[in-house]
Subunit: 574 residues, 2 copies
């Protein structure tokens, strides 16, 4: 860390060491204007940071730390198309995807022009499908789209479609990600092959899970369409690809004009705005997709222009640094109070944990502090009847992100009021808690016997001072959703700068992939390993050597893997 | 803590302080028999603890701690129907649900007889529905069942049905939990009211979310059936309840012979085996439900009889104590490598976090150590393309529970081998890691230029020594699923004893509920609070008083809640 960075870090640490620095309740009680002063707006969203332990000096110190760590510089380098993804030597210009006329460049490439051309091609395809010019091999209109992809080629579009799709929209969308064929077997009976359009989403067109599933689905199409007397070329009418590997997509049987690409400056977890979002446009319509981009762009404009003290992504990042590095909170819960956002937490889980789960700095030195926290969540109110117990009364605070939507898209206002009342109440309960004296007074009012009050008071006490942030959306529209997702994308970038880690690579994925290819042959058969089969679960010394042999046979030196393989093969055989 | 407890705790702590106590790789390398010695079997399941840092002395010390903390005594008290849920003065006898002839008693009550009688009534109802003796008001067979419940009345049955349901089974099941009416609006178009059976699952029949949704669905039934000329009593033919409140269910219009009860010794998150599981039996068949109970019972028998050193729930609990209390790991990931188990992590999240997220002991004193960790997860291989980056290369280890299934229920063996190879590879990669020297050697073999190797080596290094447990199921059947869920239920009970907390209450749920009822009127209208509306997001001192007035009007003293309410109402109005 630079000298300025160390000093700025120390300044925050000094504030964090002051007695009661994690207190929230007293801040709320002392300052009735706190909600106004810690409420921030952009792109139609209201971000409420009042239920954290941030104070004016703490926030100022955190933003000074951000300045010292180069948060704004990093943002500007991103926007300028510089290779901010240092280990891979790439730009991270997902902002260009939302700004088709925005003038973004990567070196000599006019990124905006690339984006415009892909969006035009996507729009032409979507119009053709919706308008009935692009049909199945038997002349049927497409009713269903299956997106085959995993990780960044799955979670973003799946989350958005879940959020925006309503009965009556142009097509139904399905997402096939897991290489577990049970996923495909559950989906298959829902599909009419004559009316199903399949998108294969893999930048390299080599992702093992995606290609395995794509072949299963292509075989199904070939057989089903063949049985209906449609020729061997029929399948091609049902396929498209979201990829950059033209030779491989062609070899798979996908026509070049059905291949929609994206550049290496679009990372998987930032790609739903690119061709990877084609299923969104097909399912929800081009207008929805355009609205999504427009909302994100509004957040981009804010992120690029607003000063740190009013910049929502920077403020959210500063809050996370406070919680993770200075208060020691290692996990964060995401609770959208909207059933349509039921996969929002899963999307953020990827976006944040894959981006920020790093242990070395950009220069390759061990970071000297915690980086990305665990992120998890479920929609409210469901979560209240599940894990919120721990967040209220567990031994370690878990900050919560609440997402609230003011206006529903249904005609059940009473339900919506109950929903919102619960969201507000949880935030209040976490921050204020209930002292033992309050718990006792309440039980006394309910006329509980004194010994019962003594016994229960500690269990009915809530420590309070548990932080949350709330984001209020006027309604859940493509635009507000786009702004919301972009807010978190930029927060992640800011945290990359705060922590001097690369938020755009994911080297942690490669080792497991390599080992899997070594293990696969052992599961495929060849010499069985009866000794190892016995060794699993026994204490028989004589079998140890057999286990080691099996380990070698399995393409690994690891006896534990070999033992499991032997046990799996035993179970599969019997 | 007792003196013996303190000594036993200290003994584990001493082992944890030894250099390299968290090491795993060296243990695997030093002992090729480790997988055999740390593999444990019960009820058809294999539990592999070899990829943790447990050693023989550590495990012995942890089990001695369990002995000192009364784990086996607590188990026996549970089985004897004693009020192990101390704060509520209740037994926790979910084991009786799996043992209709098992001789369980709660005081004078023959719990087994109660269970048998409910199971008989459920079976009669299910047979009637499946056999066509119990029909919709218009004489139609029921094809769909909607379970309306939340938390324990939702997650368990929803998880099980997701796991076991296959195309062609008796009925389709749907789960409506969230009070957000968007959930109902998404479900409604999928249902034919003439063929839809609705279960209202709420023990007290007062759960706000459930009753709100139940009324929406009842209104829909009444209107839809009415439009088809079926009389006003038609709705009753489509309703049943999983509840103990007979007056309330009757008032709701549900006939007494359609109400299936369960006793207060069945906690919500342990209730899927009770009447709360009726949707499982309706959707998947009675045989599947019976298989589920039988598998759980097999695990119960094991739990009750096996010595600690071979007792899977006790071993799993000991492992968690090691990770949480002695190594300081505050979160755990659950990764089932089976798409059908896609809600398994959500079920465990409730089961574990609601049970173990406690801060005071049974006697009401602050616990002096961490309790339940954060639990989260998604199916593999999906998780590999999402948050596993952090688990491989983040700054804090996150123990992983892998669940593997040897034999699939489909005819795509190649997919299944890839799936299993990935699961095994992840466990191996987490434990072994990759040293910087190994990373460098590998890049040298790939002929990367030296400066590239220098630059990338730290990023391609994996620290290893990241713990995981693996549970191998021969196949995913009702019986193995039952055993798996029961394993975790008992693990939770053991941890309650280890930590001297009550794993069966959930007082942390009540404060938010109370505050919500205070906030609700302010969202319903009445006097608007224009000043507070302005105050939200402004720095205007003059509006502070208005915010406070609004706070009072909102039935809360909290200005932050009042400001949000004002903003919501402003957005709803405009």
């Amino acid at each position: 860390m630079t000298e300025a960075g160390c000093a700025a870090w120390g300044a925050v640490a000094t504030l964090a060491r002051q007695p009661g620095a994690a207190g929230i309740r007293r801040l709320l009680e002392a300052d009735p204007q706190r909600a106004g002063r810690f409420g921030f707006r952009a792109a139609g969203l209201l971000l409420d940071l009042s239920r954290t332990s941030l104070t004016d000096p703490v926030l100022a110190a955190l933003l000074a730390l951000g300045e010292a760590r180069g948060v704004a510089r990093f943002r500007d380098a991103m926007a300028a198309g510089q290779p901010v993804n240092g280990t891979e030597g790439r730009a991270a210009l997902h902002m260009a995807l939302r700004a088709p006329a925005g003038g973004f460049h990567v070196g000599d490439e006019d990124a905006s022009a690339t984006v415009r051309s892909t969006l035009d091609a996507m729009a032409g395809f979507v119009r053709g499908v919706h308008g009935g010019q692009i049909l199945g091999a038997g002349g049927d209109r497409f009713t269903d789209v299956v997106n085959i992809g995993i990780g960044g080629s799955d979670l973003g579009p799946a989350m958005v479609t879940r959020a925006l799709w309503r009965h009556g929209m142009p097509m139904r969308a399905h997402y096939l990600a897991n290489v577990d064929a049970h996923a495909w077997e559950a989906l298959r009976p829902q599909l009419d092959p004559r009316r199903t359009l399949v998108l294969v989403a893999s930048k390299t067109f080599t992702t093992q899970e995606t290609m395995t599933n794509a072949k299963l689905v292509r075989d199904w199409l070939a057989q089903a369409l063949g049985e209906q007397g449609l020729g061997e070329h029929a399948v091609a009418a049902h396929l498209a690809a979201l990829s950059t590997n033209l030779p491989a997509t062609a070899a798979f049987g996908i026509a070049p004009d059905r291949v929609f690409g994206f550049r290496d400056w679009v990372g998987g977890r930032f790609s739903l705005w690119s061709a990877v979002g084609l299923s969104i446009a097909l399912a929800c319509g081009l207008e929805a997709f355009a609205g999504l981009l427009a909302g994100a762009r509004e957040m981009d404009d804010h992120f690029l222009a607003a000063p740190p003290e009013a910049n929502l992504p920077m403020l959210l990042a500063a809050t996370e640094v406070w919680h993770v590095n200075f208060l020691g909170y290692g996990a964060r819960a995401v609770l959208p109070y909207d059933e349509r956002l039921s996969r929002f937490a899963a999307h953020l889980q990827q976006l944040e944990m894959e981006s920020l789960g790093k242990r070395v700095t950009n220069a390759g030195l061990p970071v000297g502090h915690a980086t990305g926290p665990v992120v998890f969540g479920e929609p409210g109110t469901n979560a209240q009847h599940s894990f919120l117990q721990l967040i209220h009364q567990g031994t370690t605070p878990v900050p919560v992100d609440f997402v609230l939507v003011a206006r529903p898209d249904h005609a059940h206002p009473a339900s919506h009021r109950i929903l919102l009342a619960n969201a507000l109440a949880q935030a209040e309960a976490l921050a204020r808690g209930r002292t033992e004296a309050e718990a006792r007074a309440e039980m006394a009012r309910a006329k509980l016997p004194p010994e019962e009050i003594d016994r229960l008071a500690p269990h009915r006490t809530f420590p309070g001072d548990r932080p949350s942030t709330s984001i209020l959306l006027p309604a859940l529209t493509p635009a507000t959703l786009g702004a919301l997702v972009a807010l978190y994308e930029h927060k992640v970038a800011c945290l990359g700068a705060y922590w001097d880690i690369n938020p755009f690579d994911q080297w942690g994925v490669e080792l497991g992939k390599q080992l899997a290819s070594g293990i696969l042959p052992a599961l495929e058969g060849g010499a069985t390993a009866p000794d190892a089969a016995t060794a699993a679960g026994t204490q028989d010394a004589a079998t140890a050597a057999g286990t080691q042999d099996a380990a070698t046979a399995a393409g690994t030196q690891d006896a534990a893997t070999a033992a499991m393989i032997a046990e799996i093969r035993r179970l599969q055989a019997g």
